[in-house]
Amino acid sequence: MIRILLCLVSLLVPHAVRPRWREEWLAEMSHARSRGERLRRRISMAAGSVPDALTTRRIATAARRATGPRAGIFHALDQDVRYAMRGLAKDPGFAFGVILSLALGIGANTAAFSMINAAIFRPFPGVANQEELVRLTLGTHDRQKFSTIPASYRDFMTIRENMTTVSGLSAYRDAAFAISTDGQTTGVPGTLVSGNYFDVLGVKPAAGRFFLEREDQTAWTHPVVVISDALWERLYDRAPSAIGRPLLVNGAALEIVGVAPAGFMGVKARSPGLWVTMAMGELTLRGPDGRPARAEAAGPLGLEYVGRRRSGVTLEQVRAQAGALRERLEATRPNPRARVSVLPVMLNDPSGMAPEIAGFMAVPMLVLAIACVNAANLVMARSSRRVRDWTVRLAVGATRWRVVRQVLADAMILSAAATVLGLLLSRWALSFIMRILPVPAPLDARVALFAVAIAVLTAVIFSLGPALSVTRHAAKRLAPAAAQIGGSRARSTARFALIALQAALSLGLLATGTQFARTVYAAAATEPIAHPESLVLAAVDVDPLRLEREAGEEFYRQLLDRVSRIPGVTAAGFAPRGIVTGQVSGDTLARIWLAESRDDGTSQLAFKVSARLLDAVAVRLLQGRRFTAVDETSISTVIVNKPFADKFLQGQAVGRSFRLGRPANTGASAMIIVTLDRKGVPTYKTASGSTAGDAVEVTVVGVVDGIMKQGAFEPPILYYPAALVYQPARTLFLRLDRSGRFNAAALHAAAREIDARVPITGVTTLAEMRLNHNVDVKFAGRAVGVLGILALILTAGGLYSVVSYIVSLRRQEVGIRIALGAAAGSIIGMIVRQALLPTVIGAALGAAGAGVVGVVIRSRMYGASPVDPVAFGGATLLMLAVMLVASWIPARHAGRVDPISVLRQE
């Protein structure tokens, strides 16, 4: 029993001496026992161990405090913290101001960082040990720039056979599938994967199993499919019986063998609905002849590779082996410079994104800088009030460090509180952002660490400068009366310099934000197509059905016929979507040879449009005529836009002829190089051009106005009515009548009546499409604007507090002035003028800075306007008005100073 008591008491003793302490006591008790002491006495003796333990503890702590330089620096820190808490509680206005402004800055930064964190470091759901995964990319290395080459299945085999450092290499490729259930067909994004895909990623199925290696070896022998958790829910209500059921995918019945876990998206930011083996590639792949083809025969597929490092193998070793693959690849590929790059698997590779990250973080960092300046201002104002206190402390023997440490303790407490508030604010901001940009951005440990780091940094920045400068002053003069009057000028200069800095930063942000917003919205405002709200677009794709060309054309002919008869539709037509978005793909480029040219022609934008499409889009005819049904039968007529007529046909287009080659039609994987010259005029190059022999002679029958303005500029475009190549995927354009009412169900019904297997997707009006276009750019503009307003509020708050402080400091002077006959108005005017001067200087600097940013944005962002006087003028006026109010409110107090009471104090 005594033993247990001693062991318990020994817990009070510091760890380092505890065993020795216990041993001594046990020895003593055993000695007492051997001496024949009675139990009662032994117990009372053991009770003495309690005071002994406490004494040992006290001696040990005293020794720790007394020794070592570190212990000396932080001696009696708890006192500082307690004192700081008391001081802050007595000055709630100050504490509130600092906490709020820092919380805004920290919150903005945490929100921005958690978005970056989410964009880069967020692990892919369902993937095991992501850090072991490597992404292999085939490409060429050219002038420090790595450009990818669409890899073929053969490249995959070559790489797979030779990469021994990787325990499994898997290939995958995005594909569009159409699934049919209950007579309804819907488009589903899917992924074509090698059989080992799920094994390499280490995924556990939510139900059933994943692919077996043998299921990916021969075509059609194992028609199996894995579906996503979302699709499982949608089609089968998560019934386990779904496993083993057939699913009609691109017209073929595949057996569902398993379900991927919820949220699984492979190692790419895209959520497929189903996964099909490479062996079944024929369902979606096309050979060079445009016919369904197996993966081996489909040519360049644009495969992506992911592998898992063997245990103990470093990324560098994998890279070294991939580098050695070069010769083998050269033996099998036409491109001699092909090489394999190896990267770790992340959502977005941060290595190439440094400028973007810096740009993204720069703006919230600026806001934080303003918040720090603001807090520093408030600390300085408070420090001046406390200088007497510090002078006394220094006089009675406190070290300067002790006083500085007191200020730092204040700052740490404030910034800790601000961090908590900032995290709450950023959570709120993120939930708001997520409504605009649906990216899950959790506040994880990395974000928390970041927030703490910037909080500490912030605390040091905003308090150390004022603390050092004020204690220096305090140390110099121990006469408190002199301190108050002599030092105020020097310190108010510093304060106004800070105000000028703040004004510069916030005006810079405000002007940049305004300009950003104006650029984005100006682009949206110049809609070249009339009544975009009554133009409906829908995507139709017969590609998954593997129809022959004739059957496909027949489907489209019938569809157009039926939708034209839907009530409310005034005109309908087909065209590639690029006709309104300006998106370039292989089949929207054609080569033209003008009559006089002998060279290999020039690639220009060329859109296949059906006869009534230009009516549906309601493009204005400038010269000549529109297409008729006759034009569709064979290719002999074209319509060009005005820039085309001006550039190639000297403005006299109608009746002129030139030769038109076939579009490249290599699909999405074709390499199209768009280069813009100084004026922003694009030239296009395709990897494979057609020769003059392929060309047909065409005559221009009409000239139309532009419908594809990009900024103030429209490229030369030609429209042709008859097919040059077969396009299985088209966009349907429907122009509605004045009522603007449209029944999407009628559109789906029309397609279903012809062929129930064809999905119609993405039904939207042009107005909606434009609204959703560039969401991220609009968001960025709005975010910069919001941060600019935040900065303005912070600056206004800062100016307000400084001016009110100055007013309180100059009460005596103002009282004397009033006693001598100064009018209240002139006193207020004097103070406001003095406060606004640094603001104006700062505004000038800020405007200059924003101008530089504007020029940079212009060089980086397509179609951005040059430095915008309206944005700048508006932002400057707004800021000056806010600053005027912020300085005028506290200045009024100066006008109300009662000279008698002031003089009495004197």
Partner: protein, 104 residues
Amino acid sequence: MAPANPALSYTGLFVLQAVAQGHRFGFDIMDVTGLPSGTIYPALRRLEALELVSSDWEKDAKARKEGRPRRRYYEITRAGTLQLAEAESRYRAVGRLFPKRSTT
């Protein structure tokens, strides 16, 4: 480093004196001074922290032979002896203020 002239409490002086006379561990000191254990051990700790006594452990072999835990022995240091001598003279001076009363 011990302070130049540490203030020594009455009990501290008692214990120091006991150690100087060769009572080398807690129980023994308790026996001879009659002070409770809750006073003796803290006093020993303080004396050791002031470097007036030093402690050492009994030889392991000896304790094992007798089948008991090894004991901690205290010994007066040089500083302790000086301190004790100084205190002794001080207490003697105090003692002179209280002349012995005659028993008669």
